[in-house]
């Protein structure tokens, strides 16, 4: 995916999502605000994958998008059971937790943390290969010496 003016467009979208997220929460729709947050994370994930004018959507898809989907599921399931058992004891528990909080423990905390932690290690070379880092250092130091190391035209 080409960067060009897309980064500016994405930043504008991020601004609108900030507005939507805080606006929804301020208007009393905090639960909808959580989903606006997830969309915002996706936008930052895309922007952060940019390398020399190109977005790496594979890097966004794994692990970030998988994590975001898990959080969406955690919010939905957590809220469903919180509303279902509001004001009364739940009919069942999961690992001893209230079912709504179990969704948070599993889908918001433990599994996504493992996914992101080990997932980041798994995509390390795609994220920043040794060659790319060495090239950056070489060009940055060349630029220090008055030669930017690359034809800018």
């Amino acid at each position: 995916m080409k960067n060009g003016r897309t980064d500016t467009l994405l930043i504008i979208v991020s601004g609108l999502l900030w507005l939507a997220m805080v606006g929804l929460a301020a208007a009393g729709h905090w639960f909808a605000g959580l989903f606006a947050l997830l969309a915002l994370l996706l936008v930052y994930g895309v922007l952060g994958s940019s390398h020399k004018g190109q977005f790496d959507l594979k890097l966004v898809a794994f692990p970030s998008l998988v994590w975001i989907v898990m959080w969406a599921a955690a919010f939905w399931v957590g809220n469903h059971y919180a509303e279902l058992y509001a004001g009364r004891e739940p009919d069942f528990t999961v690992f001893g937790f209230h079912p709504s909080f179990a969704a948070i423990v599993v889908l918001f905390w433990i599994v996504p943390t493992l996914l992101m932690g080990f997932g980041f290690e798994a995509v390390k070379d795609r994220w920043l290969s040794q060659e790319r880092w060495d090239e950056f250092l070489r060009r940055a130091h060349d630029t220090d010496d008055g030669n930017d190391g690359e034809d800018r035209s």
């Binding site: 915002l40 509001a86 209230h98 943390t113 992101m116 980041f120």
Partner: protein
């Protein structure tokens, strides 16, 4: 005073807590020999591996807010605050999105402070540096105050010592080792303190299962008549806890977006030896963060279980951790009290260093004043001492709960750093004039927010923020929206070629 506790037990606990202080002091003195230049003192040494940086980052992020404030809130309001603690994937996301760009910036110039980083990105714009310095200073004061409060509560529970005297003694030792070795000693002592927190976390988690028998008995205790008799709300155990839902929103949003721009995270990325070790760093940081999360959940749940069963009485939420430790017995006490101290010290040393950097380097730089590097170290040491004293005063005046002060600080710091380091490093179109305008709006919004909160506290107004959203969320949103809008309306800066390379990495 805790009358049931034997005198010798108290002095044993005191000794174990003092051991953390003494070892930290020893590490600080030893680390002095690694301070080979003023830049290294201020945090410009890229010499640490992922385990050291990961532990130090977790300890500095965790703070007394996590170890004292969070269990207190779990006890009083349930699971809502655990959303803040459980947002660990946001940690990794932050490294993934901006980690390599921040680390690359540290290669293209002398970067020892956040002000230096802002200078590089925004061509030495003095206004941005000035407002960043002021905002960071306010955030430092709030964060440090939370640590002072936690230390005071720790020893108050043991000896009923004077709060002010406790704070002064602990901060005097902390300042002594921080001024000796600066950020080099800071990161090493924080790594040690992180290890103490992890150890306490493991012990407490095991103790929780031994005492309660698991999570189900806690849920049963709060749900039946015992919970009602102890004035506990069963809704506390649901996904969103017993606070209004908007807190759940704020406490998911704040760490997820805020963690990537916290000074504790940004400054540590710059000290990592090799950016390709960032994934390992994030693994160490989140795995230790998960152990801290388990610990605070275990303490909070244990407090609920014990209070519901009439086994302990908790008169203030911030005392929950100590009451639970005292009930569990000597082994728990010998680890929990030092862990609280370690958590408070790790964050305090970082924010003292940050305050020192601001006063000796960033603030003079924003006025075009250059101080000789060796004199900067002296000025920084004086600034750290003054900041420590100011934090003690702020804590005495505010009287707020540790967790609340911590979230105030977290929000203020995020509002100061997000436009510069996240928007600024992700978008070449973020202009210096645009970000400067956003920062100005953030500063005004922060001052307004704190003023309204103080007026509310002292009963001069009863202003309620729309939807009950915490004020710092509006501050963050204002800073970001104004920065983007103003950048779109102003002409792009001509970026240094090397900065472009770092942003393109």
């Amino acid at each position: 005073m805790n009358a049931e506790m034997g005198e010798w037990v108290k002095y044993l606990i005191l000794a174990s807590s003092l051991a953390v202080l003494v070892i930290s002091f020893g590490i600080g003195v030893w680390a002095q020999k690694k301070v080979t230049s003023p830049e290294a003192f201020f945090g410009g040494a890229k010499i640490f591996g992922p385990l050291t940086v990961g532990l130090a980052t977790m300890a500095a992020v965790g703070s007394a807010f996590a170890v004292v404030g969070v269990p207190g809130l779990v006890y009083s309001t349930g699971n809502t605050i655990l959303l803040f603690m459980f947002a660990a994937p946001g940690f990794v996301f932050g490294y993934l999105v901006i980690g390599k760009k921040v680390r690359a910036m540290a290669e293209i110039g002398t970067v020892a402070s956040l002000g230096d980083l802002a200078d590089l990105r925004f061509n030495g714009h003095r206004g941005i540096k000035l407002i960043l310095s002021l905002m960071l200073f306010i955030g430092c004061a709030m964060y440090l105050s939370a640590q002072v409060e936690a230390c005071a509560k720790l020893f108050e529970n043991l000896f009923e010592w004077n709060k002010l005297v406790i704070s002064v003694v602990i901060f005097a030792i902390l300042i002594a080792y921080t001024v000796l070795s600066g950020e080099i000693g800071g990161i090493l002592t924080q790594a040690f303190q992180g290890f103490v927190i992890v150890l306490a976390g493991l012990i407490f988690t095991v103790a929780f299962f031994t005492v309660t028998g698991g999570f189900e008995p806690v849920l049963a205790a709060i749900s039946d008549s015992r919970g009602g008799a102890a004035d506990l709300d069963p809704a506390a155990m649901t996904a969103w806890g017993s606070l209004p839902g908007v807190y759940a929103f704020a406490w998911v949003m704040l760490p997820t977006l805020g963690i990537m721009c916290q000074p504790q995270v940004l400054t540590r990325i710059m000290m990592l030896r090799n950016p390709r070790e960032l994934p390992k760093l994030s693994l160490y940081a989140v795995s230790t963060n998960v152990i801290t999360g388990m610990m605070v959940m275990a303490i909070g749940y244990c407090a609920i279980f014990l209070a519901a069963n009439g086994l302990v009485e908790i008169d203030h939420p911030d005392k929950a951790v100590f009451k639970v430790a005292d009930y569990l017995g000597l082994v728990a006490q010998l680890f929990v009290y030092p862990a609280v101290l370690a958590a408070a010290l790790s964050t305090s040393s970082l924010f003292l260093s940050l305050a020192g950097n601001i006063v000796s380097r960033d603030l003079p730089g924003s006025f075009g004043i250059t101080i000789d590097p060796v004199r900067q170290v002296t000025v920084s040491r004086i600034a750290m001492s003054v900041m420590g004293i100011a934090a003690i005063g702020f804590a005495s005046a505010s009287g707020d709960m540790v967790a609340i002060l911590g979230t105030y600080g977290f929000g203020t710091l995020a509002a100061a750093t997000f436009p510069i380091f996240i928007i600024g490093l992700l978008w070449k179109g973020a202009t210096s004039r645009g970000v400067m305008t956003g920062m100005l709006a953030a500063l005004l919004a922060t001052v307004s927010g704190v003023t309204v909160e103080l007026l509310n506290r002292f009963g001069h107004t009863d202003f309620a923020w729309p939807g009950g959203v915490p004020w710092y969320v509006f501050v963050m949103a204002t800073a970001i929206l104004v920065s983007i809008a103003a950048s779109l309306l102003t002409t792009r800066d001509l970026l240094d070629r090397r900065v472009e390379m770092a942003m393109d990495l």
